[in-house]
C-alpha cells in the first residue's frame, strides 16, 4: 500500500514540475535557514551549561539605591568581600574572585598577548575547567600559572611546557611564573574566557591597600551550600553590608537614597550562572539580550511557516486536479484516514528531500554564516540527541501541517460532487486568502523592521559624538614596553611630522578598539555636603586638542603650564557640582592634595549611544602608564598616516602587535550586536519575501488556469490586455493591502520598544511604513504580472477550445 502511495507521489512530482519546484526549493531554503538560526539559538541557550551543580553557582552584584527610586547595579566588588562572605554567610560553601585582562606573555624569544585571569584556587573546584596535566593545586602558589592547551601549544611550539618559566607583564613589569599545569581549552560556549590562570594573590600583592573596601573592581562568584537558597544568602549578606559599609550606607541615607522593599540602600544580589550570558550587570563575557535567541527562533519559525503556507495553498489549489482521484478512491473503499495518510506521505517525501538538501546546504553555508554573524559553529551540534529529536519532531509537525491539513480538507468533500466535477473551493479560497495575508504580514513586518533598524544604525553611526572620530587613531599599548616611555618616544618621533596634528593618551579607549576591551571607572565623593558620582578618566597632555573637544571655559592640559593635580570636567559634571563658574574650584576624593578644575568641555558621548552622557572628570597624570594613545592626523591621506604610525610604533615596540584603528571604526564596533541583529532580520526578510513570492507565483498559475475560460470570454467581448492584468492582480493586491494594514501597527510597536534601549534614537516616520508597504505591493505585483500578462496576451480561441 505504502509503495503505491510513494509511486503516485513520485509520479506527481514529475508531472507537476512548477509545484514540486516551488515546494522543494521553498522548504529547502526554509529548513536551511531555520537550521542555521536554530543552531545559533541553541548555542546561546546552552551557554555555561557544562558546569556540574550549576544551580548552586552564582555571581554576586551590589545594588546601590539612588534618590528618586532608581538603583545602580554593579558587579564590581571589593577585594575583602569574598573572604568575609565565606566566613560570615552560612549559605556560602565556596567563593572565588575573578579578574584579568589581555597581558603580554613571553617565553624565550616568543612573545604574545594572552588573556590572563587571576582567580582564587576555589575557582577550579567550583567550575568545570579540568586540569589535564601537571599540578591540580597550582593556583595555591602565587608564582605558578596554568595554561590552556592551545596557549601552551602556541607559546611552547608543541614542546613540553610544565615546569618552564614564562614572563608575564603586569603593571609594566615582567614577572616570572612557573607553568604548573595544562588545562583543557575553554569551550566556545563559556562566559569565562582565559588562556592563562594564575592566583588572585598576585592582584593582592600589587595593591597598595588590599584591605580597602572602596576599591571595587573584582567579579565575585559563590557556590551555595547544598540546601541553601539564593534568597537565604541575600538575607544573610545584609548583616555583612551593614557591618563593612556602615559609613557609605549612612552617607547614602543622608543624600536621600530611596530604600528598596527590604528597607536596604546597599544590598547584595545574585545572578544564576545560566543567566550570566544574558545579564548586562554581570560583565563576565559579553552579555546578549535575553530576547535575542528567542528572536532567532521566531525568525526560523516565521520562515518555515511561510514555506509551509505555500505548501498548504498549493496542495489545496491542486485539489482541483486531484479531486477526481480522491473521490474515486473513496468509491473504491478508501477510508478517510487512508487518504490523509496518502497525502501526508506525499508531503513527507517532499519535506524529506527538502530536509536532506537543506542539511547539505547548511553544511555548505555554515562557514559563510559564521563569518557573517561572528559565530564559531560546527554541525557537531547535530550529534546531540536532543537536537536530533527536536529536528525530527518539528519536521513531522511541518509535514503534518503542510500535507495533513489539505488532505483532511480534500478528503471530506462529497464524492458525487467531486466525481461530477462540480467541486467549488469557495471555503478554501477564503482559507487560501487568509494564508496569503499571513505570509505578507510577515514580509511587510520584516521589511518595515529592516528599514527602522537600518535608519537607527545609520543614526548611531553618523550622529556627531562631540569629538573628532574621523581623524583620530586610537592605538592600544601592548607588548613589553613601558607605556609612559613609549608615549614619550612616540611624541618625539612624530613631532614635526606633517601628517600628525596632535598626540595624547588615556587610560580608557573611546568606542571599542581592536583589542576588544571596554572599561568603566566610577568615583563617588562628597562636594559641599552632597554626594557626587562621576565617570573618571586619566589622560595625558593635549587631550582636548587631540580629540577636538570644545572648551566651554578654561583651558586644555598643555605642557606650557606646570600642572599638578588638575582636572577638566564636562558640562554635566559642572551641573552636578552646582557651580556656574567651576574653574579654579577644588574637588577632593581619595586624592591628596585635592584636584583643581582648569577647564570645562562641552558634553561628548564617551560611551555608546545606548547611554546618556554621564558627569565626567578627566585628570591629568603626566607620567601616566597609558593604555591607549590617541593621534590626530591630517584628513588628506588617512591610510598613509596609519602606515606611518604603524612603522614608528613597530620601531618603539618591536615585539608588540599594532592594533591602531580610527575612532569611527571603534564606535561602529560598539554596535556589533545591533549590526548582527540587523543582518539577521534583513536576511530573514529577504528569504521571507522570496519564499512568499514563489508561493504567490504558483497560486497565480493555478488561479489563472481556473479562470482561463473567463479570460477568454472577456477577451472575445473586447477586454484589453491591461484590463485583464488589472482584473487578476487586484484580487491579490487587496490581500497585500490587508496585510500591510495589519502589519504596520505591529511593526511600529515592536520597533518602538526596541528603540527604547537607546538613549539617542530616531523617531519612526510615517513614510517608513508607506515605503515598506509600497515595496510589498510592487514586489507582489511583479510576481503576479509574469502570469497575468501571459494570460492576457493568450489567444482566447485556444483557452476556449480546451473546455
Amino acid at each position: 500500500m505504502f509503495r503505491n502511495y510513494l509511486k503516485i507521489a513520485w509520479r506527481n512530482l514529475g508531472r507537476q514540475k512548477v509545484f514540486a519546484a516551488v515546494n522543494i526549493t521553498g522548504m529547502t531554503v526554509a529548513f536551511c535557514a531555520a537550521l542555521l538560526l536554530g543552531i545559533a539559538a541553541y548555542h546561546e541557550w546552552t551557554y555555561d551549561n557544562f558546569h556540574k551543580d550549576s544551580d548552586r553557582l552564582f555571581q554576586i552584584y551590589t545594588e546601590e539605591r539612588l534618590p528618586g527610586g532608581k538603583s545602580l547595579p554593579s558587579s564590581s566588588e571589593a577585594v575583602p568581600l569574598a573572604p568575609v562572605l565565606q566566613k560570615e554567610c552560612a549559605a556560602v560553601q565556596q567563593v572565588a574572585r575573578y579578574v584579568g585582562e589581555v597581558e603580554n606573555v613571553q617565553y624565550g624569544e616568543r612573545s604574545m598577548d594572552l588573556m590572563v585571569r587571576f582567580v582564587d584556587p576555589s575557582f577550579l573546584s567550583m567550575f568545570n575547567f579540568p586540569v589535564l596535566k601537571g599540578d591540580v593545586n597550582a593556583l595555591h602558589r602565587a608564582d605558578q600559572v596554568l595554561l590552556t592547551e592551545k596557549a601552551a601549544h602556541n607559546l611552547f611550539n608543541n614542546g613540553n611546557a610544565i615546569g618552564k618559566i614564562v614572563q608575564i607583564k603586569m603593571n609594566n613589569q615582567l614577572k616570572p611564573f612557573t607553568v604548573g599545569g595544562i588545562m583543557a581549552d575553554v569551550p566556545g560556549s563559556s562566559s569565562f574566557d582565559f588562556e592563562i590562570l594564575t592566583s588572585f594573590g598576585n592582584v593582592i600583592q600589587m595593591l597598595d591597600e588590599p584591605d580597602s573596601w572602596s576599591n571595587e573592581s573584582y567579579r565575585t562568584l559563590i557556590q551555595l551550600q547544598k540546601n541553601a537558597s539564593a534568597a537565604a544568602f541575600e538575607k544573610q549578606s545584609r548583616a555583612v553590608m551593614h557591618k563593612y559599609y556602615t559609613g557609605r550606607i549612612s552617607d547614602m541615607v543622608r543624600d536621600g537614597a530611596t530604600p528598596d522593599k527590604g528597607g536596604e540602600v546597599l544590598s547584595l544580589h545574585t545572578i544564576p550562572l545560566r543567566d550570566i550570558h544574558f545579564n548586562e550587570v554581570s560583565k563576565i563575557g559579553s552579555a546578549i539580550s535575553r530576547f535575542y535567541p528567542w528572536m532567532l527562533v521566531i525568525m526560523a519559525f516565521m520562515i518555515v511557516s511561510i514555506a509551509a503556507i505555500n505548501f498548504i495553498n498549493l496542495s489545496m489549489g491542486r485539489s482541483f486536479t486531484r479531486a477526481g482521484e480522491i473521490g474515486l478512491r473513496k468509491a473504491l473503499g478508501a477510508l478517510r484516514g487512508q487518504l490523509i495518510f496518502q497525502f501526508w506521505s506525499e508531503a513527507f517525501i517532499i519535506c524529506s528531500i527538502a530536509l536532506l538538501m537543506s542539511l547539505t546546504l547548511a553544511g555548505l553555508l555554515l562557514p559563510g554564516f559564521n563569518a557573517m554573524f561572528k559565530y564559531h559553529f560546527t554541525l557537531n551540534i547535530l550529534k546531540d540527541v536532543r537536537v536530533i529529536t527536536g529536528i525530527i519532531s518539528i519536521f513531522l509537525f511541518v509535514t503534518l501541517m503542510a500535507g495533513g491539513y489539505p488532505a483532511w480538507l480534500i478528503s471530506g468533500f462529497n464524492i458525487v460532487e467531486v466525481l461530477k466535477g462540480k467541486l467549488r473551493l469557495g471555503k478554501s479560497s477564503f482559507m487560501r486568502n487568509t494564508l496569503i495575508i499571513v505570509q505578507f504580514i510577515v514580509a511587510v513586518l520584516l521589511i518595515s523592521c529592516t528599514v527602522v533598524l537600518w535608519q537607527q544604525l545609520q543614526y548611531l553611526r553618523s550622529r556627531p559624538l562631540g569629538y573628532n572620530q574621523h581623524q583620530v587613531i586610537s592605538l592600544p599599548v601592548n607588548g613589553n614596553v613601558n607605556a609612559a616611555q613609549a608615549l614619550g618616544s612616540l611624541r618625539s618621533r612624530l613631532d614635526g611630522n606633517p601628517h600628525v596634528l596632535a598626540v595624547s593618551a588615556s587610560g580608557m579607549n573611546l568606542g571599542k578598539g581592536l583589542d576588544g576591551s571596554e572599561a568603566n571607572w566610577h568615583i563617588g565623593f562628597d562636594y559641599k555636603g552632597h554626594g557626587v558620582k562621576m565617570a573618571m578618566q586619566e589622560v595625558s597632555y593635549d587631550y582636548a586638542k587631540t580629540l577636538d573637544l570644545q572648551l566651554v571655559s578654561g583651558r586644555d592640559f598643555t605642557k606650557g603650564y606646570v600642572d599638578s593635580q588638575v582636572v577638566i570636567i564636562n558640562e554635566k559634571m559642572a551641573l552636578q557640582l552646582g557651580e556656574k563658574d567651576p574653574i579654579g574650584k577644588e574637588l577632593q576624593w581619595d586624592e591628596k592634595p585635592p584636584v583643581k578644575i582648569v577647564g570645562v568641555v562641552k558634553d561628548f558621548n564617551f560611551k555608546s549611544l545606548h547611554q546618556d552622557i554621564e558627569p565626567l572628570t578627566m585628570k591629568l597624570v603626566p607620567s601616566l602608564q597609558v593604555s591607549y594613545i590617541f593621534i590626530k592626523v591630517q584628513p588628506a591621506d588617512l591610510p598613509g598616516s596609519m602606515a606611518i604610525i604603524e612603522k614608528v610604533w613597530k620601531e618603539i615596540n618591536p615585539r608588540g602587535t599594532f592594533q591602531g584603528s580610527f575612532l569611527d571604526d571603534n564606535t561602529n564596533r560598539m554596535y556589533k550586536a545591533e549590526s548582527r541583529l540587523a543582518g539577521i532580520i534583513i536576511s530573514s526578510a529577504v528569504l521571507a519575501i522570496i519564499i512568499s513570492c514563489m508561493g504567490l507565483f504558483a497560486i497565480a498559475v493555478l488561479v489563472i488556469a481556473q479562470r482561463n475560460k473567463e479570460i477568454g470570454v472577456r477577451k472575445i467581448l473586447g477586454a484589453s490586455a491591461a484590463s485583464i492584468v488589472t482584473l487578476i492582480s487586484v484580487d491579490f493586491l487587496k490581500l497585500v493591502a490587508v496585510a500591510i494594514l495589519i502589519a504596520t501597527p505591529v511593526a511600529w510597536y515592536l520597533m518602538n520598544t526596541w528603540l527604547q534601549e537607546f538613549a539617542y534614537r530616531i523617531h519612526i516616520q510615517w513614510w517608513t511604513f508607506v515605503l515598506s508597504g509600497m515595496a510589498a505591493v510592487i514586489i507582489a505585483f511583479f510576481t503576479i504580472s509574469f502570469q497575468s500578462i501571459r494570460a492576457a496576451l493568450m489567444n482566447p480561441v485556444k483557452s476556449l477550445k480546451t473546455e
Binding site: N4, K7, R11, R329, A331, L332, A334, V416, L419
Partner: protein
Amino acid sequence: MIQLKHISKHYPVGFGKNEILKDIDLTIFEGEFVSIMGPSGSGKSTLLHVLGLLEEPSQGEYLFEGESVFRMNEKKRTQLHRGTIGFVFQAYHLIDELTVYENIETPLLYKNMPSAERKSRVADVLDRFNIVAKKDLFPSQLSGGQQQLVGIARAIVAEPRVILADEPTGNLHSDQAKEIMELFKHLNEKDKITIIQVTHSELNATYGHRIIQIRDGKIA
C-alpha cells in the same frame, strides 16, 4: 437484495427546494440485470448514487440484504464499497498517475489482500479482458473503449456482488458499446453478478431483464 422504501431526495434552492427523487419504492433481486432509463435531469443518476451509498436520501429507508444502510457506520459502509459494490463510470475515472495494472490493483490494496493473491487476481482479470499487453500503459495511452474495459476490470477484480454502472457506454461509439454490453451480460449470466445500469440507449437497455423508467423523480 436491495430494497428502497419511500426514498426522497431534495436540495434546498433559495427559499424552496428542488425535488430530485420523490417517494421511490424499488426492489432489486440477486442476479438481476436492471436498466434505469429516463430523460436528462429525471433523477436516474441520483438514484444510482443512492444505491451506491455515495449520496444519502433526504427521506426513506434503504435495506441492503435486509440491513438498513443508513444505520451503518462509516466503516461498515466502506466495507460494502470494498467488497460488495463495484462502480463503472461514464468518464471511466481511472487514476491518471497509475498504470493499467496498478489501477486494477487499487481496490485489492484497500482490502488488504496479501500480495501473492493480489497478483494472481489481477493477472486473471487482465487475461480475461485480453489486456495483458497493455498492463504497463497509463490511461492516457489507451482509447476510450480500452479505458472503460480497464474501468470494468477494476470494478470486478474485488469480486463484487453488485455492479453499478452510470452510462458506461456514454462516451463510446457503437461497436465499443456493444462489446461492453456483451461483457456485462456475460458477467451477469456466468458470474451471477447483479448489475444496475443507467442508460439513455434503448438498445443497451434491452440487455437487461427489467427496465425502470424514471420521470420527474418518480418511477413511471
